[in-house]
Amino acid sequence: MQEEFIIAEDLDLAWSNFEPFYPLPANSPFHVERKGKPLNRLKRALLRQHRQSPKYFFSGHRGCGKSTELNRLAADSKINEKFFIVKYSVKEVCDVNNLNYVDVLFSIGAQLYIQYIDSGKELKPELIKQLEGWKHSIEKISEKETSIEASIDGGLRTFFLSVLARIRSEDTTRKTIKEIIEPRLSDLIDKINLIIANIESNEKKKVLVLIDDLDKPRLEQAKEIFYNSQTPITQPICHIVYTVPISIFFTKEFTAIRESRFFLPNVKLHSKNDRNSKDEEGYGLMGQFIFHRMKARLIQPDALDLAITMGAGVFRETAHIIQIAADSAIENDRDQIIEEDVKRAEREIRSDFRRILKTEDYATLKEICMDNEIKGIDKIGRLLHNLSVLEYMNDETWCDIHPTLVELVEND
């Protein structure tokens, strides 16, 4: 939601441009194209003809650009030619803290209806009637089984919104609405599929649902959804792209077939088992990322190199480092970031890690630091999640510890 994209001529604006919070909208000049365009594989898969609408699972490290890439996908002209796109974040419509597959399915139905109606389109009267009937049946049970006044006069849109609101509200209410919907799940799926069929026949396009931030729930809940409820969440007859937490994406319990998995890797900066090697392509890409946001003269070359190294090939981490370094340079009345500024950022990030790492983590980190092998996803799931361990991919998948931690682990 950055309004302006101007390459910074001074550190003050650079500081602002490296705000690490926002995924980029499609067509932002700040965007850099990764080598091999990793999202193209997903795009090609979506554009292919399928007998049954496929479901895809998309993962990557926190801050590696997942939301940015999904934004781009949703704005892609070829994708828009073929699909009516419904994109939303579960964080906006569900309580991510208490999420199960019922919420996911209901949110799909609700978003399909709401986004279609809000785009000024109409569904067939027969379908509206069926949906009204379903709405009444839910409301009736809801009134009977709970003392909650469920009469919702505002029509279907209000109904969907109010159920979503109840799903987001406090535990007791949420349980009831889930309890009502869960045994009637086939009804819900049926209605979702009717809406999909109606939209597809109206628009002469397929329906594509992109669900962002499904990698945000607590691990146990994500496991419940992606391990145990894979069948129900693949029931809707439209194309769906789910985001999946990285810590379960590589586990053996996650059984989605290889063809349906897409991973947005971190940018590789050195090769496996050789921290001193320098992957020129990776450094080039991260350099581009930086220079799309500020003029090259605002940072000394050795400071740039160090910033890229410490950013670990993760875009948000790199932005965070440059922002702290810019802040430090401004504080010291410099108009250029020097190595000392980046070192300050490095120290700050390292001490943040020290606060969240547990004693037993250090042994694991040390092992990974030494041989870059992934041993037991259970052991490192938490570390992947907090970015102290990062995964890279070329011919094989390997991992390394966050570069700010190398000093800490080696001196331990």
Binding site: W15, F21, E331, E348, R355
Partner: protein, 341 residues
């Protein structure tokens, strides 16, 4: 503003976290202030953490920053996290463009506050909220672990870990002096350095000196410098005797026992444990008694006197169960298991 630097001693606790360079407090105050002012200029959200030890320092620093902000036409609003657990909603309802929130009492809002922050972090960003979260080390660790998505959105963590020189500093210093649980060798060594510095600054009759001596003894023991450990425990013992602190005396005797035992002088260790046991019984310190008995069990086990060891472990276990102390219970049960197998 220079006033701040003058009345605090910087305990250099930051050293524990390897922040090698510690800028003067006024530099850090303006760092925080300027960050917020710049965020306002570019209409950005800011999630800043200010780490602190002493409430007095917190109040003073906050006052300074508020004044800085005020000069720039920004308003400040204090928020009690215990009162408003759903902080993102609170921010949204109050956020006018020029408001900076200072959040305190985080722990009172746990764990709900953590949930709200983690799952509504986008709301904070979307509303361009500028907030400074005052946190202790412990609170920040919990935020990092239990609200990781929110923590990943932090802009900066700025440390204000000095303590005031006046009488008010006492609780914070005492807490620091007693702290002996660190995670790594590195941290232990830094803590030793700081504690020795602080010790040299205090007068001998200070009760904090006693805490520091004892804690240094334990830390040296942890890193294998047993003779040094013994020196410190003996000094601590002298102070306890002087001020008639029987419980402290018992503790120091037990610690001396441990150090001698680690040195391999098990008979000497037993002597100290016995003396400690007498005091624990005398003052009715059940936990101390349990610990002393457990230590005796260990010592006899080292000497190969299995039956005697079992006897002591069992006595200790009985007390552990009686006072429901899981540390004693686990210690005894595990040792009994391994000694009998």
């Amino acid at each position: 503003m220079m006033r701040l630097g003058a009345i605090y001693i910087l305990l250099l606790l930051s050293l524990l976290r390897m922040t090698e360079i510690i800028d003067p407090i006024e530099v850090r105050v303006s760092r925080l202030g300027n960050y917020l002012i710049r965020a306002h200029k570019y209409n950005k959200a800011s999630i800043l953490f200010a780490l602190y030890l002493s409430e007095y320092v917190r109040a003073d620093v906050e006052k300074e920053i508020r004044q800085l902000l005020n000069e720039q036409g920004l308003e400040s609003l204090g928020v009690d996290a215990g009162e408003y657990k759903d902080l993102p909603s609170f921010f949204s309802s109050r956020s006018a463009e020029g408001t900076v929130f200072f959040v305190h009492s985080m722990e009172k809002g746990f764990p709900e506050a953590l949930r709200y922050l983690n799952f509504k972090r986008e709301e904070i960003i979307d509303h361009r909220v500028k907030a400074v979260f005052w946190v202790t080390d412990k609170e920040l660790t919990r935020i990092g672990n239990e609200a990781p998505d929110f923590f990943a959105f932090r802009n900066r963590v700025i440390e204000f870990v000095e303590v005031p020189l006046a009488e008010e500093r006492r609780p914070a210093v005492v807490e620091f002096a007693l702290e002996t649980e660190y995670r790594s060798l590195d941290e232990i060594k830094r803590s030793i350095k700081l504690k020795e510095t602080l010790l040299s600054e205090l007068s001998k009759d200070d009760e904090i000196s006693g805490y520091l001596l004892s804690s240094l003894g334990i830390l040296y023991d942890q890193i294998g410098s047993y003779k040094k450990a013994i020196e410190f425990h003996e000094q601590a013992l002298v102070i306890s005797k002087e001020i008639g602190d029987r419980r402290g005396e018992g503790n120091h005797l037990g610690n001396l026992g441990n150090a001698y035992s680690h040195l391999g002088q098990v008979e000497k260790a037993i002597e100290y444990y016995q003396k400690a046991l007498v005091i624990s019984k005398e003052i009715g310190d059940r936990r101390g008694e349990g610990a002393d008995l457990g230590n005796l069990g260990n010592a006899y086990s080292h000497l190969g006197q299995v039956e005697k060891a079992i006897e002591y472990y069992e006595q200790a276990l009985l007390i552990g169960k009686e006072i429901k102390d899981p540390r004693i219970i686990n210690f005894c049960e595990e040792n009994l298991k391994s000694i009998k197998s």
